[in-house]
């Protein structure tokens, strides 16, 4: 008995080594059962919390990439929307030869192009936005520009090779054809140059039923914007005593203060429509 104690004392460290090694290797070998154990859950909680804290930092540095990925993905999804396709009249389909036709007889009309805002002003009377996309990246003049939530931002007025200038809604010449969601009345949205994010809606007759909070969206009557893009919500309705129209103030749905990514919407049928209008005008003038 005495010898046994002597042995243990002499080799105590070695025994501890063997015990700890044995335990480690037991954990290794019984990897799967460890995962069901309480200790594993406890450790996972702790490491999970630490990891979460560090992920906050990590995520912050990844934000740029994440953002870009999301914008790309959004564009992809938007391009798949049904509204971007137009059904062709079958009788004309026999006559027309159009590569853009797909087999179901649909034709793409609107193409969303994701772009980055390089500069943006809101404080001037005539505000412009510069986009990091130009004619070399298939952006064309007169394309509509919307923000990530499909709120109208402006219209492309100038295109260089790699950049484009957008006339923002906050511009005195900006005029967008819109529709009231409730009644369907058509009006124009302008900016009075006072307060960013606050637009004016004109040409709405007093017979129309308008209320605070009503949605106003693009009419689709121009070749610039598709039908149904949100422009803003009604904030204030005033009677204009001198005319038969309302004076309506809108809260714009796009936030002009923090535009970072926007979509330019290309109308693929614009040329055709424009040509048609030009021919019609020529005939009238002659």
């Amino acid at each position: 008995m005495h010898n046994l104690f002597l042995f243990i004392r002499r080799y105590f460290n070695f025994i501890v080594l063997l015990l700890l090694q044995g335990f480690s290797i037991y954990l290794l070998a019984h990897y799967n059962s460890y995962h069901n154990a309480l200790a594993s859950n406890f450790m996972n909680e702790i490491t999970g919390k630490v990891n979460t804290q560090f992920n906050k930092v990590d995520y912050f540095f990844q934000l740029r990439k994440t953002n870009e990925a999301l914008v790309q993905y959004n564009a992809q999804l938007r391009n798949r929307l049904n509204e971007n396709f137009e059904k062709q009249d079958t009788s004309t389909k026999m006559v027309m030869e159009n590569i853009l036709n797909d087999t179901t007889g649909r034709q793409r009309k609107w193409l969303y192009l994701p772009t980055k805002v390089v500069s943006n002003s809101i404080s001037a009377q005539n505000n412009f936005i510069v986009l990091q996309r130009g004619s070399a990246q298939q952006l064309k003049k007169d394309a509509g520009v919307v923000d990530l939530n499909n709120g109208v931002v402006g219209i492309v007025t100038d295109v260089s090779e790699n950049f484009a200038v957008v006339m923002s809604l906050l511009h005195k010449d900006s005029k967008i054809s819109v529709k009231l969601k409730k009644g369907g009345e058509v009006g124009q949205v302008i900016w009075d140059g006072k307060d960013p994010n606050r637009l004016s809606l004109i040409d709405i007759r007093k017979s129309a039923r308008v209320a605070k909070g009503d949605t106003v969206y693009s009419s689709g009557f121009t070749t610039t914007f598709p039908y149904g893009l949100m422009v803003g919500t009604i904030e204030e309705v005033m009677q204009d005593k001198s005319t038969n129209n309302y004076i309506i103030h809108l809260k714009s749905s796009a936030n002009f203060y923090n535009l970072q990514h926007v979509f330019a919407i290309e109308n693929l049928q614009r040329q055709e429509v424009d040509q048609l209008l030009k021919n019609a005008n020529n005939k009238v003038n002659n």
């Binding site: 700890l20 090694q21 335990f23 480690s24 290794l28 996972n44 990891n51």
Partner: protein
């Protein structure tokens, strides 16, 4: 304790994300074991080493590997110190192993190098037993040891620990 946490965090959030050629990942967290004081109960030191390894294993969700390797080097450490220490009574004058207390940079390098080699060797041996492929294991051990050692030297140069004298007899 602070050193314990800091080394684990650096290992988990910085070094574990590095995968060099051959899937070599440098390890420096076991510097904690290398820097443990001369004195103290060896069994307790081994248990602390086990805790260190187990903590790291918990972050990798596969317990056993590092715990085992850490316990092994904690056990072997005193033997190596006895072999390397040249100054008479240095163990009594200094608190923990360093280039100064082991009498020069070369002995310290040998000390760190041997323990790193043993640690990595045992660690990758356990991995190799699990996953096979022993040739790869040898290559990985050699490369990892070299890179870890390089990092240890850098850490040693950057963060000079205060030499704590226990007596002033030298």
């Amino acid at each position: 304790m602070l050193r314990f946490g800091l080394l684990i965090l650096v290992q988990v959030f910085v070094l574990d994300r590095i995968h060099l050629h051959f899937m070599v990942t440098p390890y420096i967290y076991f510097l904690f074991i290398l820097w443990m004081p001369f004195e103290g109960n060896r069994a307790v030191q081994m248990i602390i080493a086990f805790a260190l390894g187990f903590t790291l294993d918990s972050f990798r969700h596969h317990p056993g590997f590092h715990a085992s390797a850490c316990v092994l080097i904690a056990y072997l450490r005193p033997f190596l110190i006895n072999l390397l220490i040249s100054q008479e009574g240095a163990e009594n004058n200094y608190r923990a192993p360093s280039a100064k207390s082991l009498g020069g940079f070369i002995p310290y390098l040998v000390y760190a190098g041997m323990l790193t080699l043993v640690h990595h060797g045992w660690l990758f041996f356990l991995e190799a037993v699990q996953f096979g492929n022993f040739w790869y294991f040898i290559v990985k051990t050699v490369f990892s040891t070299a890179i870890s050692l390089l990092l240890i030297i850098i850490v040693e140069l950057l963060f000079s620990r205060k030499q704590q004298f226990r007596t002033n007899t030298v």
